[in-house]
Symmetry: C2
Subunit: 149 residues, 2 copies
């Protein structure tokens, strides 16, 4: 059996599933953090708890833009199903980027983020329909290594 | 006339227009860098030339993954229309993230990146249809300021 190196590598990426919906009537943007798969690809130590942090950037001073899920014990597939609401007009929302980070908190309560994704909201739909998608996560340790090259 | 603070803020975001297409028959992924709008939002000095750098991450050792457009004199709207091709299988492509950076090169030939976007390819279409979209760019100066808070 011959392995294609690209395909074997393919197994290794952590992914997060996010749903988003804009309620035009109430000017509310909902971010539903559904689940995380293959978190081991982000080089976790054992017995760590993992939370997901989402930020609507750039952040307006007047509104909340940073949210965290509860921490969940690391395993292959972590289910969150937590919703966060942001009050924002549609034109302003379309200028934002949703940043999603996968983080752990160590015993001294310091948050360390292991990887993340950025989702441009430039073409987000205002119809109220929910868009549910998987997003690949880039490992920050990998990016640091790349930057040193 | 009353300004909604969210809407006035909305003017200020730089955006890049990118088209992507996967050719399943030849196992080739095409990235078309079309144009850049509102680059002033990334805090450019005058008389700078701006290029766009795209990277397909994580990078496989065996294939090219980093590409640069030609540098273009800064103005409101910068047109590139440059295509880059990556040889990659479809399962491998779906594990990748396209990172797009807007950069300048100073007189000592050092590249400085001003802002960027990340585009997950987890749900990229294999049908050969071209997907053309605008993506918001996050300013790296802004992100550095946020991280210091």
């Amino acid at each position: 059996m011959v392995f294609d190196s690209d395909d074997t590598e393919a197994v290794g990426t952590a992914k997060v599933q996010i749903a988003m919906r804009y309620d035009d009537k109430n000017k509310q943007f909902a971010i539903l953090v559904i689940q995380l798969s293959n978190v081991a690809a982000l080089l976790l130590e054992q017995d760590q708890k993992v939370n997901i942090r989402v930020a609507v950037l750039p952040c307006s001073e007047s509104t909340s833009c940073l949210f965290r899920t509860r921490p969940v014990e690391a395993s292959d597939n972590l289910v969150y199903n937590e919703v966060f609401w942001v009050s924002i007009s549609y034109p302003a929302l379309r200028q934002k980027t949703l940043r999603v980070d996968v983080c752990t908190v160590d015993k001294s309560h310091l948050e360390e983020c292991l990887g993340g994704a950025q989702i441009s909201l430039a073409e987000i739909c205002r119809s109220g329909e929910k868009s549910t998608r998987w997003y690949n996560l880039l490992s920050y340790k990998y990016l640091q290594k790349q930057n040193r090259k």
